[in-house]
Symmetry: C2
Subunit: 362 residues, 2 copies
């Protein structure tokens, strides 16, 4: 999928504005028509393995008193994003709120009272213009870290990600402008915890195995998800995901692979449907004799496992078997439990064996 | 303060072990003597502006049945840390737990049942050997980001922190092995939120003002605190702290400056007592006409302000005035509220003006 240019996105915002002026000059009520972003309108597409928004749409009508304030706010957000694009600036979604917050002259009304009013309108604008918020020049919170034999150009700087010691590159919120200058890596290993990435870097796993390591630090931030997709799509690198053996880790994997429910309209740009799950699994507990270092499931874990079992994209024989085994054994297992073998074990035995045997779940 | 070599720290652990064998061969009960780490034993030293542990000590006695398990665990932790140092390995505190967790032969007892058993013993070992956990080759969670005209050597890699685009260097947990090869910066600006660092990098603030930017992403992690201290101590750079104008931001500043209550035994190595607070302040709200973009104090904010007022290290006229002004106005102000002026305002006017006027609170 092509990532549209700034001009293209700015033009789509302009068209929204033109629609409003056309409505006004033809003496009809100005309206926006936009997709419904509720769970009822989210569908899993088995063919490409992604979550999508369905076709239900709603209308925002300026002359409907209940819509008037939101209509005005939508135009403010759209106008500011167009300005950001034209001025080649980016803003955090909190900055956007503060930039737009002001008193409406001659009234006691403020344009916005809280960020909870502006955030959903950003999502509306994304769906209406069929673009990512990063294309609207808006930044989400960033999180994530990268190591490996990859040379990136970022804002004119040439960054060799194999020469960043044990520190690594902080993954920013916007990565679409990265140029991949050179890549000597064979695959991308996405890792749930930063502590596990530290371990792998200490063992020089990334250098000895030609792996690009992406550490998420919990749930994957948008910048990290987009970067994983770009590495897969542009550099044709396979992507393996390595999380804790628990429902929380499995959901992190599913967000990287399938998309997330509240950002279903962006799956196509953020998700990597051909990524593969490497571990930890219940079979690992047996195969690597890790029984002593499992943890007992808590009620909240069991509840989450049952939730996953109800999601359509987990209704595959391998995943159902895995989740049910977890329930019947009553245990979960962490990445770092592999340290019970030895600190080097994960880098010298566990990962190389799993990758060589292609012992993955899809 | 000198950072002791690995040999020195390993030797202090060895001396703990020798004390135990001496006790055994002289037929007395093996004991450890260690400082009490409770709030009652934490003191603020006005002279150097740091939090310290007091002189209260307690004894851990192998033949006291209530102490036996902890005594055994303390020896396991000490022994593993000595091994890590000697093998030039580092481990996360979670890995340490998994490495030491095993069944005690001939019993149904495990050495450790949870990480809540091993973590406090790490703190015990730090105080007993008068060393940081990083010197024991243990890693805490890392967080934080760095940009600026600074060239670092990390694990043999030469990293120019002014050539990392908008991505930046991820600050690891252990930074004592950083070599500072070259520094063309005039000061360090410590920033509470990563989003604000993004803003400053987009405006090229760090390059145009010769500033090293350290983004904390909330409360300062140990690695970031230690790095700020090293930049101040080794490179003689002044340190300015820029947080939200609320009690949470002010406490972040006080941890960087004075130390934290639960790590009071490490203030000397982690805190930077001569750092200065730049903003946001209640005076900023007036001086920069920001009344429209303040937030109302919630009960939890008010409670926290009163807590800060009770801490000895906030009992300075400037801080008391600041905190009371916040209470009487009933408002707080965020860094990102400066965007209401314009996105560039913070980089082109606010920070340069405050720094030129030396408008700081100490």
């Amino acid at each position: 999928m092509k990532f549209e240019t700034d001009e293209f996105v700015a033009d789509r915002i302009k068209k929204l504005g033109e629609k409003v002026t056309t409505d006004i000059f033809s003496s009809t009520s100005p309206t926006f028509n936009l997709p419904v972003r509720a769970a009822s309108n989210i569908h899993y597409n088995k063919d490409d393995g992604l979550l999508y928004l369905g076709t239900n749409r709603s209308t925002r009508d300026f002359f409907n008193f209940a819509h008037t304030r939101k209509f005005m706010q939508t135009l403010l957000v759209a106008s500011k994003c167009k300005e950001l694009i034209e001025n080649q600036k980016t803003a955090s979604i909190r900055e956007l709120y503060y930039e737009l917050k002001h008193n409406i002259p001659g009234t006691k009304e403020n344009t916005f009272e809280g960020q909870d009013e502006s955030d959903p309108l950003i999502e509306d604008l994304e769906t209406m213009t069929d673009s990512l918020r990063e294309q609207l020049h808006l930044k989400a919170d960033s999180s994530g870290i990268l190591f490996g034999k990859l040379i990136i150009e970022d804002m004119g700087d040439r960054i060799d990600c194999s020469k960043l010691g044990k520190s690594g590159l902080a993954i920013p919120s916007i990565v679409d402008d990265y140029k991949f200058l050179q890549c000597d890596a064979d695959y991308v290993l996405v890792v749930e915890t930063k502590a596990m990435v530290d371990r792998l870097v200490e063992e020089k796993f990334h250098l000895e195995n030609n792996a690009i390591l992406v550490g998420l630090g919990g749930q994957a931030a948008r910048g990290a998800r987009r970067l994983i997709k770009l590495l897969n799509e542009r550099l044709k690198l396979p992507v393996y995901v390595f999380t804790d053996g628990d429902p929380w880790g499995y959901y992190i994997y599913s967000v990287v692979k399938t998309g997330s429910m509240n950002l279903a309209y962006e799956s196509k740009r953020l998700a990597t449907p051909n990524c593969r799950f490497l571990g930890m699994t219940m079979d690992d507990v047996d195969n690597f004799s890790l029984h002593k270092v499992t943890e007992h499931l808590k009620d909240v874990d069991k509840k989450r496992i049952n939730q996953l079992l109800s999601y359509e994209w987990f209704k595959k024989p391998h995943w159902v078997k895995e989740l049910k085994a977890m329930l019947s054994k009553g245990i979960r297992i962490e990445q770092q439990a592999l340290a019970s073998k030895s600190l080097e074990f994960v880098a010298k035995e566990y990962l190389p064996q799993k990758i060589a045997k292609k012992d993955f779940i899809d």
